[in-house]
């Protein structure tokens, strides 16, 4: 069973819709027992970092997530803010992240005024696959829909799955063992998003 974590933030319906289209049943829940039984976990997220971490704390979900992800090695996919929550933290907030991946989220910072681009990074952008990583592809080029003002940098380059350029390169997806993070919204990225979900759902 695929469990989509409901912690009061994120486009849960859209994720479920795409999974349904791909033929996967999923449940949207914050119930610990249901999460403990999950074979795959999706952590969506739209909003601010601290509010998200606090919601997870208030719902007592951090322990069960640690158990599933770190002990049982249940595959987890963090989407957008959800991806940032999997890291050590974000410039956006004061709370620590879950720390599953050694990475951090910084606000987009363009060096000089003439290089300034609108924030948030909003729209379709291309992702480049890290040569050393595997990803089942069906298209020549991958693009996804992004909406974010904070971007992730990974301290371990081996954990970078995709990079994307907006002024400069940032990590648009990371992967380490059972942990996968996507800065973009695969549930809103047509066939590209579907292929990304397939990779997550079908790989052991």
């Amino acid at each position: 069973m695929v469990v989509i974590i409901d912690y009061g933030m994120g486009n849960l319906g859209s994720v479920r819709n795409m999974l349904k289209k791909l033929g996967y049943k999923s449940i949207i829940t914050s119930d610990k027992d249901e999460i403990l039984n999950a074979q795959r976990i999706i952590l969506p997220g739209v909003g601010s970092f601290d509010k998200a971490m606090n919601n997870l704390k208030e719902l007592n979900l951090i322990e069960v997530l640690n158990k599933k992800v770190l002990e049982e090695k249940t595959p987890i996919l963090g989407i957008c803010l959800g991806m940032q929550l999997l890291t050590n933290g974000s410039e956006e907030g004061k709370e620590k992240g879950l720390g599953y991946i050694d990475a951090f989220a910084h606000k987009f910072n363009f060096e000089t005024k003439d290089k300034e681009l609108p924030i948030p990074h909003m729209g379709w952008n291309i992702t480049t696959l890290n040569e050393n990583k595997s990803f089942n592809t069906t298209e020549e080029e991958y693009r996804f829909y992004f909406v974010h003002s904070f971007a992730v940098t990974c301290n371990n380059p081996d954990e970078i799955l995709f990079e994307t350029k907006y002024g400069y390169n940032f990590v648009s997806a990371f992967q380490k063992d059972n942990i996968l993070g996507a800065q973009f919204h695969p549930e809103k990225s047509h066939k590209f998003g579907m292929q990304f979900f397939k990779n997550f759902l079908e790989n052991s």
């Binding site: 486009n11 300034e116 729209g123 379709w124 829909y145 919204h185 809103k188």
Partner: protein
């Protein structure tokens, strides 16, 4: 790099799709779910769906309709029309809508937008402005629900919006709406320099050349249009269309 978005705008009136001309006369276009399914199949970048009577009539959003088209879309949708409370917004987001557009709801007081940004995040909120040109050639904000000029000047309002920090600004030229004579470049140039968030422009597009003209001369994030995507030919026969992905990339040199 980030690609320029090309976005169909669909107008809802009595749960049907219509297309207006200068915000007046409307022509029936078709069933919204059908049109949205077609746009989804054509892999459009994004969709904007606006209920054009909700504000004026003070009606609640049609959640059932929203749910049915949200479930058909694997690209982002921005929904707008008479949204006045956080409760409504919460419901709409839960149905699978990515962004909500606020237009007249921000003209009297900025409180709703401020609270919405706090609660849902700036990236989920689009500020929408309808703009008209006066007889003397100056631009002013048009409140389409009350059919009158807004109290703020355009310059003042743009400053305020930039400070509010919404995720995106959507501007619509009332004079060019449905006229299919091209975008109002002068207006776009005036607005682009005053805001730091992504800008989406609408009103007047009739061809790919119109898109290119704006892109070549102005700093915009997205090009929106109504007639261009739903009409075809000199007699405006209804035909849902969307340019091919490669053609758009070639057009914009991306």
């Amino acid at each position: 790099m980030l690609q320029t978005r090309v976005i169909p705008v669909l107008l809802l009136r009595n749960n049907e799709l219509v297309k207006t001309t200068q915000f007046k006369k409307d022509k029936y276009v078709g069933d919204p779910i059908n049109a949205i399914k077609i746009f989804n199949d054509k892999e459009v970048d994004e969709l904007i769906v606006l209920d054009i009577d909700a504000s004026k009539n003070n009606t609640e959003p049609n959640y059932e309709l929203i749910e049915s088209f949200a479930s058909e879309c694997f690209m982002p949708i921005c929904y707008g029309g008479g949204v006045k409370t956080l409760e409504q917004m919460k419901k709409i987001f839960r149905l699978g809508i990515e962004k909500i557009s606020i237009n007249t709801g921000n003209l009297e007081s900025y409180d709703l937008v401020k609270e919405a940004i706090e609660t849902f995040g700036a990236q989920s909120i689009v500020l929408s402005i309808d703009i008209k040109k006066s007889l003397f050639g100056s631009y002013y904000i048009y409140n389409h629900a009350k059919k009158r000029k807004a109290k703020q000047t355009l310059d003042q309002y743009l400053d305020d919006i930039d400070k509010l920090g919404v995720g995106e600004l959507f501007i619509n030229s009332v004079d060019n709406d449905g006229m299919q004579k091209g975008y109002d470049l002068q207006l776009i140039k005036k607005v682009e320099s005053k805001v730091s968030m992504p800008l989406v422009v609408c009103g007047g597009a009739s061809s790919l050349d119109d898109f290119k003209t704006v892109k070549d001369n102005c700093k915009v994030s997205g090009l929106a249009a109504g007639s261009f995507f739903v009409f075809h030919g000199p007699f405006n026969a209804v035909l849902i269309s969307y340019p091919k992905y490669q053609d758009l990339r070639t057009l914009f040199g991306e």
